[in-house]
Amino acid sequence: MRILYFAWLRERVGLGEEQVDLPAGIADVAGLIAWLRTRGPGFEAAFAQGRLVRCAVNQDFAGPDAAIAPGDEVAFFPPVTGG
């Protein structure tokens, strides 16, 4: 699975993109976030502010219940501020 991080999430996590092998039993965005938080203080800091993190699965906005599967592209980022 390809995971992307943008803006301050990218800075906290310390990388913009990574390829991960999803552990068995993780089937939705909420589960992925719970697992990511265990991967170090940067991840813990980034996702502790859960309310302000937005997610896209395969480039569509997705909520915590959205299903994920190996091969998906999942992105995490703050609320958008373009325009």
């Binding site: 803006a7 896209a56 480039q59 906005f61 992105a75 609320p79 501020t81 373009g82 325009g83």
Partner: protein, 157 residues
């Protein structure tokens, strides 16, 4: 109606609104009006002077989101065409950030389509701004609650 669809560009280069207007209206005489909005980098944020602004985006999703919004606006307001250009990279105070340009047979559709596009772009397009202040500190711009409320008035896409 003969809609040409949405022209979407994400680029570091500046844009010229007159050239984009000519391109949108090229070879046709059925357009009654064009409405536009251009967003500019302001020289202060929260009262503090800024030296630059950096725009980051999500390549791929950006074009997809803007394309979907452009197509939705074209259908909903029966636009004859629309152009959305969003710059990324380092911008300076006074620089142009974004252009939304709509064409329609009558002014109300062009004006409404333009307002709709910029409202949705501000809440749904994956861009993020980081401000660099004159004192050297940097800060990511917070999303404005007001933008979500403004976008809500158009209903869900």
């Amino acid at each position: 109606m003969d809609a040409v669809g949405a022209t979407i560009r994400v680029q570091t280069a500046d844009f010229d609104i007159a050239a984009e207007s000519r391109a949108l209206g090229a070879d046709r005489t059925d357009i009654g009006g064009m409405a536009s909005f251009v967003g500019l980098v302001r020289g202060t944020a929260s009262g503090r002077p800024i030296s630059s602004m950096t725009l980051e985006h999500y390549p791929g999703m950006t074009e997809r989101a803007l394309g979907a919004i452009g197509d939705a606006a074209t259908q909903r307001f029966e636009l004859q065409g629309c152009t959305v250009i969003h710059r990324v990279g380092i911008l300076l105070p006074g620089d142009q950030i974004v252009l939304v340009l709509t064409a329609a047979p009558h002014r109300q559709a062009a004006l409404d389509g333009c307002a709709f596009l910029i409202d949705w772009l501000k809440t749904r397009a994956p861009f993020w701004k980081k401000e660099r202040f004159a004192d050297g500190t940097e800060s990511w711009v917070d999303a404005r609650e007001a933008d979500d409320v403004t976008a809500e008035r158009w209903g869900r896409l």
